[in-house]
Every structure is written in C-alpha cells, then in structure tokens.
C-alpha cells in the first residue's frame, strides 16, 4: 500500500545516495517549504469554500455554484481577484507596521505547521517540546493583529485590535490548561508520544470525564483564540465594521483571511491530535475484527477526517450563535473557564496518579 510515509522515506533514501547529508537537508527543507506553502494555499481555498457551503446550507441557500464544477473554483476566482486588487495603504497609517502586520500573522500560522503529524510518521519536525512550542507560537499572531489595528490609524481598527489582544491573551490560558491535562496523562510533551499513547483508544474516551471537560474547554478556547464567532469581537462586523482589518485591501487582506482559516485548521488539527488520537484509527479495546478494518483506512485520511469534523463543528458554532459582548466574553474566561480548567487539571492529575484512566 502506498502511504505518505513510504514516499517521504524513499525520497530521503534517493537523496542520501547521491548527496552529502548537508545538501540532503537543504533540499529536503526546500521541498518541505514548497509543500507547506502549497498546503497553505490549498487549505485556504478548501476551507473558504467549505465555510461558504456550510453557511449556505445552514441559511437555506445554495452557495457558490457557478465557477468551476459546482462552484469549486469560486474561491480560486476570488483569490485571483484579491491578487490583482490594489493594496491600499492609508495616508495616516504607519506604513512599515501596516504592511508588515499581515506577514507576522501569516508567519505565526505557518510556524505552527511544523509539529503537526499529518499521517503515520509524517511530521515536519517532531520536536520534544511539541506542545509547548504550539502554545508559545500560537500567541505570535496577536502581535500581528495589534500591529495591524494600531498602525491603521483607524479607531475601529484600534478598538478591534484591543479587544483581540484582551481576548487572545486570556483564552490562551484556558487552551493551555486543557492541553496540559493531556500532557499530564501522557507524561510527554512530544507530539508523537502523545499519539502513540492513544494506540488503544483516544484520550477523550480513555481519560473519562476530565478529558471530556478539557476537550470542551479546548474547543471553546480555540474558537475564541482564532477570533471566530461567537467570539469574533475583534472584527465584530455589526459593531466595528471589520475590526482590525478595516483598512486592509487586496492581498494584504487576503493574508489575514488566509491566516484565519489556516489557524482554524491548525487548532483543529491539534485538537484532533491531543484528544482524538491524531492519525490513529478508531480502536476499541478487544474488538480485533473491527480494529483491523479500521486499520485499512490510511492514517492521513483519519487525521484529515478528524480535523475536518472539528472544523465543521467550529463553523457550525459560527453560523448558529449570536456574538458575545466583550465583558461577557472576558467574564466567561476568567470567571468560568479558567477556574473550571484549573480544577479539571487537578482532577486530571489525580486521575493520572491513581491510574484511573484506561491504560
């Protein structure tokens, strides 16, 4: 059976035969760079199309259906439109920061691609502090958003950026605590270890109630972290027109837009990895036949399936909930999610020490 793992290792072998290790590393890095960029573009196109279709079906519409087969080329056409548009820079803006901000957001999203396991043994960089890396790097995007909001010289942008800053900084705590509870169970920060520990069942099932609470907190926190409705305070369309990206146009706006969707993909991928077993097939303890059938499905499909299921969940939130107010948003975090998350972490520690989880 062809798998991504075999393709990558055969490329590595072929290269190693004819080049020195230094050059092999350089060539591989280039290939990976191209791969990540392509994946980025593809994700943007697919997720935007998915969002439009999901929203359309929830809103009793059809959605894009003209360009390409059943409208599949619609997002491509939109991207071309955005590419050829003039990227305006307002007169009063801080030109350097204004133009630099979309790239910060974009780079932040790109860096997060590194530790994500796309399939069995397919991971760009399996660093031993993977989870820590994710929580650290995911906060970079807030700097970009603050920069964009401040440098636009627009009051709406400024308000949006300030809201976004308050929101992301506070919700990161909850997301971090939720992630930590899984780290406690596995005892390792390395992503591949975490996946390996889910060989006989996903943590959401094995970890009992604390894991489920963590999962719920994680989903809420990452929805807020990616500035998605019902937590889209930063760009609250009916209040602040478009929030921090009010003044952006053309490709600079598209970069923000793309980064938003890539961020969704990444947080969902992390959620799938930590709680739903990443690329691990669905296994139930001793159901040998069932487990074997599940093993036939390629690991990359498992990973993508789980991730997209979570993405659908987050899109579902967006199109069915009203938006919270800024103070309610912060109350939710500081008064409810954070205390619950901390107690849950203690509970999880107890579960881990006593070994009450399914081993």
């Amino acid at each position: 059976m062809i798998s991504i793992e075999k393709i990558t290792s055969s490329i590595h072998l072929k290269l190693s035969e004819s080049f020195s290790p230094m050059i092999v590393t350089l060539v591989e890095m280039t290939i990976i760079g191209i791969f990540v960029l392509t994946l980025f573009a593809m994700l943007g196109l697919i997720l935007v199309f998915m969002e439009r279709k999901v929203s359309a079906y929830m809103q009793i519409r059809i959605g894009p259906n003209r360009v390409g087969y059943r409208g599949t080329a619609q997002t491509l056409a939109d991207t071309i439109k955005l590419l050829v548009k003039e990227g305006l820079t307002p007169d009063g803006a801080d030109k350097f920061l204004f133009n630099f901000a979309p790239f910060i957001v974009m780079i932040g999203a790109m860096l997060l691609m590194a530790p994500i396991p796309f399939a069995r043994n397919v991971q760009i960089w399996d660093l031993n502090i993977g989870v820590l890396y994710i929580t650290a790097v995911s906060s970079i995007s807030v700097i970009g958003i603050l920069m964009a909001g401040w440098s636009s010289n627009n009051k709406y942008s400024l308000l949006g950026a300030m809201r976004s800053g308050a929101q992301i900084v506070s919700y990161e705590l909850s997301a971090g605590l939720a992630i930590l509870s899984i780290v406690i169970l596995t005892g390792s920060l390395k992503i591949s270890d975490i996946i390996a520990s889910q060989q006989n069942g996903w943590w959401i099932f094995k970890g009992h109630i604390p894991a489920m609470i963590s999962f719920v907190i994680f989903i809420i926190a990452v929805t807020a972290e990616t500035n998605r409705a019902p937590f889209d305070m930063a760009e609250a369309e009916s209040e602040l027109t478009a929030g921090f990206h009010t003044e952006y146009s053309g490709m600079k706006f598209a970069l923000f837009f793309l980064a938003e969707y890539v961020n969704i993909f990444i947080v969902c991928a992390i959620g799938a990895t930590l709680f739903l077993g990443g690329w691990m097939p669905l296994h139930f303890g001793s159901w040998q036949v069932f487990n074997h059938i599940m093993d036939f499905i390629p690991s990359s499909i498992w990973f993508m399936g789980k991730t997209f299921a979570l993405i659908f969940l987050i899109m579902w939130f967006r199109w069915s909930f009203p938006r919270l107010r800024i103070d309610q948003l912060l109350n939710l975090e500081w008064k409810y999610l954070l205390p619950i998350g901390m107690l849950n972490l203690l509970l999880m520690t107890l579960v881990a020490i006593m070994g009450w989880y399914v081993k």
Partner: protein, 371 residues
Amino acid sequence: MFTEVGTTELGDLIINVGPQHPSTHGVLHLVITLNGETVKKVEPHLGYIHRSIEKMCESLTYRQFIYVTSRMDYLSSHINNHGCALVVEKGLQIEVPERAQYIRVLLDELTRLASHQLWWGAMAMDVGAITPFFHAFREREMINDIMEQTCGARLTMNFIVPGGCMYDIHPDFVHRTKEFILFFKSKLCEYDEMVTNNIIFKNRMQNVGFISREDAISYGCSGPVARASGVSCDIRKLYPYEVYSKVEFTEAIEMAGDCYARYQVRMKEMNESMRIIDQLIDNIPEGEFQAKTKAVLKLPKGDYYSRVETARGDFGVFVMSEGGTTPYRIKFRSPGFSNLSALHHMVKGNKIGDMVAIMGSLDLVIPDIDR
C-alpha cells in the same frame, strides 16, 4: 462640527458610526463618544436621506400624496398609506365600504408581519447571528409574493385610494394567506428555538437599554418600544379605526423595559397579527371595494389628524387644508423619529455592542426618521 460635540475629556474617543455602517440599517449617522468600550454620549446626525416629503406633499393632490408616504417607512408602507387615506376620508366624510376595510386591515397586518420578520432577522444579525436573517427572509418572501399578486408591488404597495382600495383582491389571496399563516405558525416556534431561547442572545438583550415607563412617555416613544416599558399605546386598541373594533386581539405589553422586552413584544405582536388575520380572512364581506368619490378631492378648510399603528408605532398625519386641491401643510409624525430621540438615554453607560443591540431593538427605519 464633529469635534465640538458635547463635553469631551482627554482620553475620550469620538467615533463616527455611519452614515455607512452595517448596524445602522441605512444612512443614520451617530457620533459616539467612547471611554474605552463604554459609550458616554450618542448624538444622531440626521438628514442623509431627507427628501422633505412634507414640502413635496404641499404640491400634490389629495389622491397623489398618499403614495409618497410609501417611501417613508418602506417596511410598513401600506399602513402609512392607510393613515393618509384615513385623514382624507375624515375630511370628506367618505364612508369606506366594509369589504375595503377588511382588505385594508388584512393587508395592514400582513405588512406588520413582514416588517417584524425583517426586524427579527436584522435584530439577530445585529447581535452577531447571521443565519436567522435568511430564515426570516424565506417567510417574508411569501408575504411579498401575496402582496405582489394582489397589489402588483412587493414593497411599496400603493394599494389604497381615498374611499377604499385600488382594486379588488386577487382570487388566490384568501387561500394563499391562509396557507402562509399555517406555515408561519409552525415557523414561529423555530424562531424561538433559534434565537429567543438562546442563552447568548438572552445575555445580550436582558437588562440592556432600559427605559422606564415615565421616560418612555416623556420621550414620546410609541409602538413596541413603549409597550415594552408598560405603556399601553396601541392605536388599534385605544382609537380603533376601520374593523379593528370588531376583531379580538390583545395588546402585547411587557414591563421590563429592556431590549429583551422589546423583542418579546414584537414576537407577541406577530402572534396577534396572525390572530387578527385568522378572524378576518374567512369573513371578507361581498360588496364594493371602493366608495364612489369625486374625481377632484377638495378637503374643507380646517385641520385633520389621523393616527394609525404602524409596525414601529404611532404614525400620525396632520393635514391643514385651505379648501384647495392640495394640502396647505402636512406633517407626518413618524414613530421612529421619537423612538430615536430616546437612543442616547438608553445607550449611555453601555458598551458599543449594547448600542448595536439597542438600535436593533428600536427597529429604526431611516427614511421614516428623515422623511
């Protein structure tokens, strides 16, 4: 002009909301003074769609001026026309045939339903839920289709003439209306599931934008805004016109005075409107749909005032006649104008997000305010 607004301190942020802004539903321009996220002062700047309809009407005849008023509150255009026709009929003492009265009231209530549906969608969109808007439009489209079949237009119906209606109703009208009412009754529960009982929505609406009974009266609020504060002000109940005295319905009154109360008043009103339609639709009497009137209408010297209840509240038409074919002076008392004047009172001290919710709950239609 904008910098000298009110008393601003160092650190206050003055923002122009509108005239082009997603939450102002038109070309309303608000200058808001912010302290952080808290709104200190809201000042409406009107006139972006001011067409001086009152002046225009002074040169139109009594048959013509009715149709200009469709362009004021375009969401309850039929009720506006109704009010204007009533004032002409009052002046000329025209007896409107019963069939015409039934048709007018039926269309009034359908208009009210359509207006409230649009408001419901827009209200949900103001607090950030976009999906309900499309659901509201699905039902509203059915009303528009019924209107189109009978009146020939979907938004500005212009179906009323002094003395009755322009045409008889379409043969399908009765059965399509019944079909719609049946359909909408099932959908109204869906509205509740989707928005009314949503916990986020409740949190956004409850205890926001409070206005007391006294303040509501003092600010001249009318319609659902005043009724949510416990003021009984339904013109249909207090001063029944046409067949409203014959139908049974309850005036929707809430005591809380916040956004959620205003929301609930409108939801109840939709039910009441359907109740009125249910009572009337099977009993439309046979007969003329238009009274015989002279070709040229001349109101006797004097002044006339008629009040009707639009979807937004108390709509008044003041006509001063000098005995000629055109009115000497016309004044429209638009409900939105008075409701808007209470905006600052409701908003001050709340957050920006609340301001948007409050504006949604006031159900402002800008052409109605600017005239």
